[in-house]
């Protein structure tokens, strides 16, 4: 499969648009269907497609494990840190109201940041799961 030029070229063409579509789902999730979880899966799908066509080693060069692990933790920190920021601004945990002057803008901003955290973690976990299972070597 890897030597088939059709797969190679199609996956190269699709790689960018998949990520852009993922970003659209991520940042348009507050108006349309979508959100961090779906976006994370879509973006991860682009990298998984790359790994499937070019091989796991190439995929790991593109997105090394240490980046995946850091992004996993970063997403949690973005989500949880938003809650801590609310507390520091004098509101309850994850209360977005103090983030902006108008309450609906504040809620909007808060949900975008939190969903970004979700998206980052879901992306990294999906890719991490794929790498873990694809790279699985049975013990003797």
């Amino acid at each position: 499969m890897r030597d088939n030029p059709v797969f190679k070229i199609v996956s190269k063409i699709l790689f960018g648009p998949i990520i852009i579509y993922g970003l659209y789902v991520q940042f348009h999730g507050d108006y349309g269907p979508g959100g961090g979880f779906q976006a994370g899966v879509i973006v991860a799908a682009a990298f998984i497609l790359y790994s499937m066509i070019y091989g796991l080693e190439e995929g790991r060069k593109l997105m090394p494990d240490w980046i995946i692990r850091s992004v996993m933790a970063l997403g949690v920190l973005v989500f949880g840190g938003t809650g801590i920021a609310s507390i520091l601004l004098g509101a309850n945990y994850l209360d977005y109201s103090p983030f902006a002057y108008k309450i609906y803008k504040a809620q909007h901003l808060g949900i975008i940041i939190v969903e970004l955290g979700v998206g980052l973690t879901v992306f990294a976990v999906m890719l991490g799961l794929f790498n873990a299972f694809a790279g699985f070597k049975p013990h003797k």
Partner: protein, 495 residues
Amino acid sequence: MLILDNIPALLVAIPLLASAVVSLLPSARIAWGFAFFTTLICLYMAVELVGIISSTQALSYAFGGWEPPWGIVFVLDSANVYLVLLVAFVSVIATLYAYTMLAREIAVEDLPKAYAVWLLAIASLFGLAMTGDAFNLFVFLEISALSSITLIALGAGQDRRALLAAYNYLIIGAIGATFYVIGVGYLYAATGSLNLIDITDRLNELGTNQAAITGLAFMLAGIMVKAGVFPVHIWLPAAYSFAPSAVSSLLAAVATKVAIYYFARLLFGIFIDITQLVDFFLLYILMPVSVLAIFYGTIAAIYQSDFKRLFALSSIAQIGYITFAFSLNSHSGISAGFIHIINHALIKGALFMAVGIFALGIGSRATMSSMQGVGRQMPITFAGFVLAGLALIGVPLTAGFISKLYLFKAIFETGNGFYVALIALSSVLSVLYLWKIFEVMWLKEPVQPLKSDKEPASAYLPVWLMVGVIMIFGVYSGEVISSGIGAANALIGAR
């Protein structure tokens, strides 16, 4: 003030965020230091929380400023604040113990990730103890199950059977969680609410409602799996006996206890006034099952030769005592149950820690044949172990005695002498397996030199801290007793 006002949220958020940070730390020592510091902060916050509740009685914390019943709330009253303190205390001690023990039982490069999962488990236990939202509880139940399973599977470095134990827990735990969430679905269909206080109000208006009762049945079944109540305990013995010893001590001490607390809250805090079926369930289902649990756990422990499995089986019996106390369906019964939740957590935590140290000393699993004379070779740990064992039987001057005393008091109120005989008989039986251990470890000659020439002080110090608290609670038992009575007051009103 920022911290004091937001303690309920921070108790979950701080370990959760710390776990993300710890997972990235390069060195096992730094990761441990970070984790230990986090648990200390949690203990501080839990102590503050007890102070707040003792002056205000109850506290409701609305996440995101969404007021109940719409948003998710954490509710604290005298039923769960001591549970939070218990989880915080045990997690500090268990983390201290993990410094020496976890490092020797799992690969060094896995340690930071292990501490990350460890903190995640602690965060989920805090969440389970505090949440006032039926669905949010399911979320914490899943976090707690997944993190516990990972921690149990880490025992595979010592013994590959840990993988099977973890897998069994995954499957059985998932079935339990499914039952619980089906129950929440029924309850939501009947009441249109997920907030537990709101559900109680709405059910009172609705009266007897088939969907709500079906929901209750599913929820109870699911929670009983998580709490390790006989006969749905089957994941428990293997999970506790093959997990790394630090993990066993943390999970055996507090993981099932938060599920039991929620079990009591469902029965007595919400459904007791709604339907007669709760009385039926307590008398005709929970009570016989608890008696079976007590005798099954104790007798199986007598015939067990693997120490960790023996104490896991004894846990099933001890959980049986707690549910038996609940099944008496009285104020003093509930108090006795909550008193035993605290005491048993401390006792079983100390016992699992001590067994871990013995196993480390001889370099293989602690069994009746491998443990000959090890008590003489490790006298400091063994002394703590014996005291905790005496507390497990319920010898006076230990915390276990207070548990048994209040259990007997609750039974005498029912006027049924048969139950007194049953509990007394089971206590005598538990002497048997502890005597067997004492005989093997102390009265027999050591057969082999220890792998490490001394028992590590950093490992027996946590054991002795636990034992110290057990002894203190055996003599100055006022706080524990009033916490149990406070819990009963919060659930069914003062009597």
